[in-house]
Symmetry: C2
Subunit: 223 residues, 2 copies
DNA sequence: CGGCACCTTGAGTATCCTCAAGAGAGGTGG
DNA sequence: CCACCTCTCTTGAGGATACTCAAGGTGCCG
């Protein structure tokens, strides 16, 4: 029996470079909240900050992640145009949110959405929270029981569906982001994509532009 | 570059042996709901069934899991005495719940907990749902970024805390259940436990009875 | 005491990770 | 407009962790 050493750290997370400079605009979609621009790699909110606002992606994309004490990063989810994020189990954010690209958000106080006195708003907040739960559960299923190929295939199919571009994908995130989302290394993600291309299931035109040539087969690969 | 074959199934899940014979009692804790006895390995509810009830564990324990098309099983969570489960993102259960041992539950209609007209009840339901979300997120973190030792250590510490027996654990679940929860194989779980014992961090007295000899060290191992 | 289910241990292997180098893409400045 | 720089991605080689297959042990129940 080989006795494995007790612990092995992997890849480290480095804090985002510059502090935030939020430009808040008050025009546009006043009904929901104020518009906010966040540039690439800037933080929308950080772990530990009070979680009293919700955010809706108008343009761009956001990653939500947590960092282990030794620097390993796990991306919990990506938020794409139309998605609402910022709903968390406690008063404080447990995850950090950063813009993947230059991003436009709409911000609202959570109370504006989930006031107990307003049945409709309350239901909407509930639906959003339950959607978070659903996605988190699906994510856990992916991370727990799937091979690298299955994870990547699943990721591509999911992204294609959510980005709404049919079989053509423009990925807003880097390989490192994908790796940290799927619980793999950047090299494994890259190799797996190459392999999917060699097997004819996808075609890459630049590393962020992916065409799903056999969506059916990819879906089956998801297991 | 070695081209991995595209898919490898692992361990298969076999449906639970007998159908259900629920014995519902109407005494005890009438305020919350009816009492229900479920014997070992019997289903509390199955994937696809309507999710209009919530359950509270009085005695025993429950596993909630999902099964991939090829039979791999991912346990989403274990529910221990005091825990409430059955809250799901949709009208239908997405997970299956089975008793780990002979178990006593209290059942209530979900509407009895989360009526929109009742602020307190609504808040309680919200808290429960958010707790599910929190645990699911933590689970994803464990599955995505941790080594086998870290997963097992984390599991033991979490269980010890939730079972409330201080440093002495009586595990209600089998090695297979632990493996399917942690995204490992039964052999890896077994080896890791042995290794933790050899390194003096735990002491096993029978495979379900575990004493945490160095809880501090175990906690640090969780990363 | 025997049978059965579960757990442990072993040996060999596959998958994925690490370390390292090279290729591609995008941006800046001469 | 091209050269150069940097950042990211890809590819390769080797190694470690966890898996598979297999056998033996342990405990529980009849």
């Amino acid at each position: 029996m080989q006795m494995q050493p007790i612990l092995v750290p992997r890849r480290l997370y480095q804090a985002p470079p510059p502090p935030i400079a939020r430009q808040v605009e008050t025009d546009e979609i006043r009904l929901i909240g104020v518009t906010m621009h966040v540039s690439r790699d800037q933080e929308v909110f950080g772990e530990g900050e009070p979680a009293d606002q919700v955010y809706k992606v108008v343009r761009g994309a956001v990653r939500g992640f947590r960092v282990l004490s030794d620097g390993r990063r796990q991306i919990c989810d990506f938020y794409l145009p139309g998605d609402v994020f910022g709903i968390e189990p406690s008063d404080e954010h447990r995850i950090t949110a950063e813009a993947l690209t230059d991003t436009v958000l709409v911000v609202a106080r959570r109370s504006a959405l989930g006031d107990e006195s307003d049945g409709a708003a309350s239901r909407r907040l509930w639906a959003l929270a339950m959607n978070e739960l659903r996605r988190s559960q699906d994510h856990a299923l992916t991370l727990g029981r799937r091979s690298a190929s299955e994870r990547v295939a699943n990721f591509l199919v999911d992204m294609a569906e959510r980005l709404g571009g049919g079989e053509n994908l423009e990925l807003p995130m880097s390989r490192q982001d994908i790796a940290d989302y799927l619980g793999l290394t950047i090299e494994t993600v890259s190799r797996t994509l190459t392999q999917l291309q060699v097997s004819g299931m996808i075609k890459m035109a630049g590393c962020r532009s992916i065409h799903l040539r056999k969506p059916r087969a990819l879906t089956e690969l998801c297991a």
